[in-house]
Symmetry: D2
Subunit: 347 residues, 4 copies
């Protein structure tokens, strides 16, 4: 570690994923967060915005225009959908970009527009960006200049389902993803639905039948399987907890074959554990605070049906952790740099 | 209300459903809880076991043998599966029984034995007991002597699905019930999995592919549809909250027809609300502390698929509240007696 | 109850205390909530704002100007401090007012102004308003036209401390009130500090050394004791829960004498329980959803020191419940009307 | 880091503090956890007991008799009070001991016996053990063979109060410590009071006037001040959260002098932050998962009174983290080894 660390700017450091990116980079041996941008909160230090940062970690949050981009090697985009491309399209070419928003996730800008309600500034760039599901696109990530990190739900759902697409091990006509998340997935926005009193002691589904992560998941399943008719039902639920995401995937296929395919795909991967058949179901709290994904396969009582469970920490593997893992892969480094010191926080 | 109230014994008053039954009877105009049984805690008063009861509400918890059964009109069975029938089979004939355990839910004692791991003491009585899903078996409940209240999950799942069985509105071969519950459903038992530190800030599935509520749900769906091949996938999840249960039912059919059938079935029913199409998803906290069930129907993006949501308070409509509603129906009273004063506790 | 119910308007029905007032009045035999006001949300129904209300309970939320005041007997003021007097001062004289804000709590408008940062519109009315701590001012409440309900913290603190002021049983120079509250006390305002992710899994003090409830508590202690030098240290803490408030009062005196005085004061009172010496400490969850206050007295290991604990539900006894109790007393009714059906929600 | 790591045994690895010690040692560059003991769970692997450990971290839990003590350099005692000394007194002399129980915290075994209800096996060893409050006893820790780590509450309380004892800056006759903790402080024991349903959505005090941490705190305050009459009121409360501890210390003195003394004491210390006067109150979630203590001083509105707040993570600085910090000091290493990679987990 005698080399000079690269310099990172975190765009949108006043939200949860921005702050998490800064936090995780603190332990990265080859990258330093040297700039943090924000609009409304520009002028404050990071520890004024998030007091859990101590004085020692402080960065001044500045407007994006005030960053000296010549000094920056990589930008982590932690801005809302839409806002993200507005800034990213203005960055100098030498800056590598790892974007956590939805803006570059779609190969087809029209699908993006339909789901997110705005024209894309650069349909070409979104078409050629690498979809940063680290374990499954490692090769494409190597040397990439613009990476679009998957949404938190697609991360968990695709780690479970993509390896079953080729060879095809499940019925593509009956895939149901029933997902559960903690409140941090909704970000730091001031909405009544995010208030403690409206989240604790209750559960509800949202975006039923219409959630924007559905076309993202379908894009990847279709690409991998080569079958453009693949459809999924995706139903997310908000739970009274902060971190953690569980996807319960209801599929038709053979449990043993599915388990074998998942084990083979993730053999040797440091951040995806496929539990042995017969293990107790994984729990989001077993991966809290880490970049880990745990997957378990269960044959159902009803013949031919299989339940596959996947758990992640939505702010780490589901966003900032995977972003850093992607950057490691872009640079040709060990993908675990800066991430392997993370311990699950239990209880 | 000038008539003398009937006298109730609550069997197993030291668990959550037992205590909830006592609590709810406090506001019942025609039934008084006059006896409470318990084994380990016999000799204590109810407010020593559950300090939320005030001195004014106190009952002495006694062993079942010490109850003067001649004075008792009705027994609410709040004992664990197995233990319940051991006591109920010894009760004098004049005592009406509303049992909250699984012991009398199965028409076929062999299915009970397979699911609960013991022989049934009285296969004939379980065959003839009324299955107490209040809204759908009101006629059979009238005048009944032994009623088996549904499990909390079956209550919510069947209120959603039974009306779709005849005429058949959904594909019986692809029913998936993805269920979510708070920790009170697991009772007051001392297990590591029930500790605060092991429930808060996390979610996990349990009983995946094997849960005992599956055959109970299937029994009713088959009876109603007349189709013995109906199978369901039932996957429950434990959430970091105390009360509340949500069933997310993934089915194939026509959303409008499904909604119409549900609306028709529950029209005029005080305790089941079918929300208008297009309403926001119901939340368990909207029914907390009440005997209410709320149901909403959503067409999925994928054609021909429908998501139906049902929420209840597992300790009220899912157990003690429905038990009292059943007793009201057994006696030919207004089914809402003692239950219509319950207000949802929000926030 | 054959008499025509009185008609109530709830001012500020889109906040938690407003909604709670409507909710509690639903069970009141002699008062109906017939009007609900709100500004930003005028035009919506109550169940659109708070879906836990069912269609049956619906009220249209209107601007205050659109209420037909001639038909209204009583207004429950659930508006923020400052806004409340602006409206109340415009109401016709025949409307009785029970105000839950701080606007009429201070006999001396200057103390109000210092604490709340604005001039009072009517120093005379605030000087003559009755301070609605129900149990201790029942006589003054009878027939009153304007009642100022105490803050939630002062309610709990004063129920504990006022009876010790005359005869004086504690050292007035060393009173410390260390208070703990759930998040609903902060209302439905959109602030980062109220977000689920910023409240759960943590605790912090706020308003340390400066909280506005301190002068309110001191006003009452001074009035009762006749000693204008009484000072208290009041330190509130925000806890990761929704409802419930605990005051831990550290005083110097004799535990037995203190306990006897409290027992005597509240003997026969339906809503204040003084636990026997030696009881386990009371818990906020033992009174959740009710108008109850529970008090317990503990001698400390250090001689001459006593710890007195008081718990309430901040939205019921700490606001809407006590408001209704006060109105019952104003009308000369049984103070428990509409409130005695509330059962503690446990677990 | 080319040296061979020392070998640690963790005694009582099936409880929360035992598991936390193993977890934290995973990142320690100079110590490896090579043995884990347990009685009831001997024969299982650590990841069977705590699934958050992955297969890679696995240790077999064995009975203490089956540890090859010749290979062990240090034992971290994570056993319950009483049980701990029974085992520690049998260990070979070459094994350094860092005990997290109360067994060696008291210089005077009689005080231990009075508080913990049993005779001490070795009054001499408890008299000479070093009290492991790292920042304040660093000198004594260097080279020590047996260290008794403070209780979680005493850690937070003494970090706040000890620096005010010499020179004496506060009135020793009016110290009140009102403490709040999450449920993990109660351990993994199966008691109704630890169940999710009995901890969530409520707060209560416990051990009021009698808690065993009181004599421990007094021992240290008396030693430092030289005044044997120092008494404290210590009142702990259980909060609905897992990790985190806050002490609210109510004292009499001068806020500026107190702040200056604290700042001076902890200047240069990596794990204790004294916030500038006027900062917002610290929150337990700002130090969650870290070995950090944050302290803030507030002058009260009432003259001469001061409120001092201290927050820690009870499982890290309050137990396992401080234990490792102590071992670092015993060995003459940098006290932050293995602990400086811990990031606060927020949100």
């Amino acid at each position: 570690m005698t080399k000079t660390p690269l310099k990172a700017a975190v765009l949108g450091a006043s939200g949860y994923t921005g702050a998490e990116t800064v936090r995780l980079l603190r332990n990265h041996p080859r990258v330093d967060a040297v700039a943090a941008t924000g609009n409304a909160l520009a002028g404050k230090t990071l520890s004024e915005i998030f007091p859990y940062f101590s004085g020692a970690d402080n960065l001044n949050v500045v407007k994006a225009d005030d960053v000296r981009w010549d000094d920056i090697d990589v930008a982590f985009g932690c801005l809302p959908h839409g806002t993200s491309q507005d800034l990213i399209e203005t960055l100098p070419e030498h800056v590598k970009v790892v974007d956590l928003s939805a803006d570059y996730r779609f190969r087809d800008a029209k699908i993006y527009s339909a789901a997110y309600g705005r024209e894309h500034l650069s349909p070409e760039r979104t078409a050629s960006a690498v979809y940063g599901l680290s374990e499954l696109y490692a090769e494409q990530l190597s040397g990439a200049g613009l990476v679009a990190c998957p949404g938190c739900y697609p991360t968990a759902a695709l780690l479970v389902l993509l390896p079953l697409m080729k060879p095809l091990l499940i019925d593509t006509n009956t895939i149901i993803i029933d997902a559960k998340t903690g409140a941090s997935g909704a970000g730091r926005g001031l909405k009544e639905g995010n208030l403690f009193c409206e989240v604790s002691e209750g559960v509800h589904a949202y975006g039923v039948g219409t959630h924007r992560h559905t076309p993202e998941i379908e894009q990847e399943l279709r690409l991998r399987s080569g079958d453009d008719s693949v459809e999924v039902t995706f139903t997310p639920h908000l739970l009274p907890m902060t971190r953690g995401e569980l996807v319960t995937c209801h599929v038709r296929g053979d449990a043993d074959a599915i388990h074998a395919a998942l084990e083979k795909t993730y053999s040797g991967q440091p951040f995806v554990d496929v539990l042995p058949l017969g293990s107790p179901p994984p729990d989001t709290r077993h991966v809290r605070g880490t970049n880990q994904c745990r997957i378990a396969v269960f044959p159902d009582r009803a013949s031919g049906r299989v339940v596959i469970l996947g758990v992640i920490d939505n702010l780490v593997k589901g966003s900032s952790g995977q972003a850093i893992q992607n950057f490691n892969l872009m640079m040709g480094w060990d993908q675990a740099l800066g991430l392997d010191v993370l311990l699950p926080l239990f209880p």
